[in-house]
Symmetry: C2
Subunit: 350 residues, 2 copies
């Protein structure tokens, strides 16, 4: 296979972890005789610095003309604490998701037997946990109208959804459930929010087309508790943009480290793969960031293109690194291995 891949490594630890992902993908290419061509482009704070825009035209065009996207991380806290900043790194990612129609963010959550000890949750609670979060990625509070009055004493964010947006992601979720344990849990706040009640109505409609799949409802406050108390109960967790952001980060504690979690953002034409962790600026350049999430996003990419054996190879290499204790300090406090060493081990193993 021949794939052209845009590499948007972004800010903070983004570039260092993405480099390891490229190495792993390159190794797969060599072993299985595929050609992966990488093209780098700016996004986020670094893009603002270089071009004045968080998502330069050039980057967007590149993404439109490649087969897929590997994404690193973005952000810089100096923008958050400056309410007057009109341009922010995150706008780059949000615009990219919107422009490319990446409407579904898919995050697999699994308790890895080898890593259960590094989770704050008890083993007997974790055992057997295996669910996938389907987060809507193009709507909700992220993209509704924002407003601040002139004096800066009032602000608002509009959360909005239409039927079509909910239908699209729901079908993906129900199809995924059909290939799994046949259960979809919709998380919302239907006792308070109008948008949540729209979600309930639309998802209930869609569910009728999947009679083999059970649909359950859970309030977001209860869900944030259930994910910790009884994570095994979930199969597919379907939710909106903001609730999905919160729940999938929370659920990362199940795997032992957020440094292990990757996600796929899928649209009708495009796809993007990224670790779910942030840019972790404090760790930048120190060779301590865990590259596994980024490398596992390569596994998701390969799977997306039907390269199942190759995808499994990447996962096996990561597992080998873990059982061999070739991991970064977040997984083993006294580890001697850095970002680079873990990345080398994994690509060599491949």
């Amino acid at each position: 296979m021949n794939l052209k891949i845009a590499v948007l490594s972004g800010d903070g630890i983004g570039p260092e972890v993405t480099l390891q992902a490229k190495k792993a993908l390159h190794a797969i290419g060599v072993v299985y005789n595929h050609e992966f061509v990488f093209e780098d482009a700016y996004i986020g704070a670094i893009a603002i610095e270089k071009t004045g825009k968080p998502l330069p035209e050039q980057t967007l065009n590149l993404c439109r003309n490649t087969d897929s996207i590997l994404f690193g991380a973005i952000g810089d806290s100096k923008y958050d604490n400056d309410p007057s900043a009109k341009i922010r790194p995150e706008q780059g990612l949000l615009k990219l998701r919107k422009e490319l129609g990446l409407f579904a963010n898919i995050r697999p959550i699994k308790a890895y037997p080898k890593l259960m000890n590094s989770s704050p949750i008890k083993k007997e609670v974790l055992q057997g946990t295996d669910f996938v979060v389907y987060r809507e990625l193009n709507g909700g509070m992220y993209f509704g109208e924002k407003h601040t009055n002139e004096e800066g004493t009032y602000a608002s964010d509009l959360c909005e959804y239409n039927e079509e947006e909910i239908v699209k992601i729901s079908h993906l979720a129900f199809k995924a459930a059909q290939n799994r344990r046949k259960k979809v849990t919709l998380v919302d706040k239907a006792n308070v929010l109008e948008t949540s009640r729209l979600w309930r109505r639309v998802v209930t409609e869609v569910a009728k087309e999947y009679p083999d799949v059970t649909l359950e409802f859970l309030y977001i406050d209860n869900a944030s508790m259930q994910i910790i108390v009884n994570p095994r109960q979930f199969d597919i967790l379907l939710t909106d943009n903001l609730f999905g952001d919160i729940l999938s980060d929370e659920a990362s504690v199940i795997s032992g480290s957020i440094g292990l979690m990757s996600s796929a953002s899928i649209g009708e034409k495009y796809s993007l793969f990224e670790p779910i962790h942030g840019c972790y600026t404090e760790a930048r350049g120190k060779n301590i960031a865990n590259p596994i999430a980024s490398i596992l996003s390569v596994a998701l990419l390969l799977e997306h293109f039907g390269l199942v054996t190759e995808s499994k190879k990447v996962i096996a290499a990561v597992e080998k690194a873990i059982v061999s204790n070739v991991v970064t300090v977040d997984l083993k406090v006294d580890s001697q291995f850095g970002t680079n060493e873990v990345g080398d081990f994994i690509s060599n193993y491949i």
Copy 2:
């Protein structure tokens, strides 16, 4: 002391657990020579059933003419799954919070040594955890304009905040921090939301009046993870209405059971005390609901009125029940004790 208390026990298990709270408060009155007069009133689904309104005028008037309010729980799932329902139980509670200006919801989170084993989180992570969530309760998405188009294919909820609302709760939070470990963590989504950026600006201003208190910021997605990974880091957690709803339910896993968590809702003139759990309709009338959260809300009420010894007595009685294994099935799977027996044990001990 002489206190007139409105008792709004509501729906589901609300009445049974509130009954135990009344028994405990009555016992305190007998022992310490106070007079507590209870007046019952309807709210929620039961109020809709009886009067057509989730918060009847009579109930609101009663609350305005009493010293404090004991609240049970409300809700009925039949309203959630009916998007056309115009009247809902929750509106009763939301209107009450708004009409009485109960702008701060305060939820103490503690790891009880005696109960650590019943938490899904590991003991070594929990040990020493002791923080308080300050949730804004009169604004945000809960109260912004809601809209659905005629065809029912589009819905929106507006999240809005003004400076004044943020200032009020912030002062409470910083004052509380001064009497504790002197740290406030503001949880928001300032990298995406305009309202969050207003919160950051205003809270940063307020913080200047409390130079002895450290102010930190955390994104909601990260916070939902940190609460599980490293709960000891928090002292006062300050946040908006929706994020506070999510985080405080999530944080309940720290105490071992949501059946143990109570909260105070405070305004300039009025105060309301309630368990944080919901109405748990499936358990209604079965004598299995845990009354401890409701009884501990009595401890918060007593403390609020300066009756510190009395408050401590209630807590001691609860602890006695726990160490004596006189608890409901949520805390001990094979327990022989029901709601009533636990309530009796606690009031007898007092």
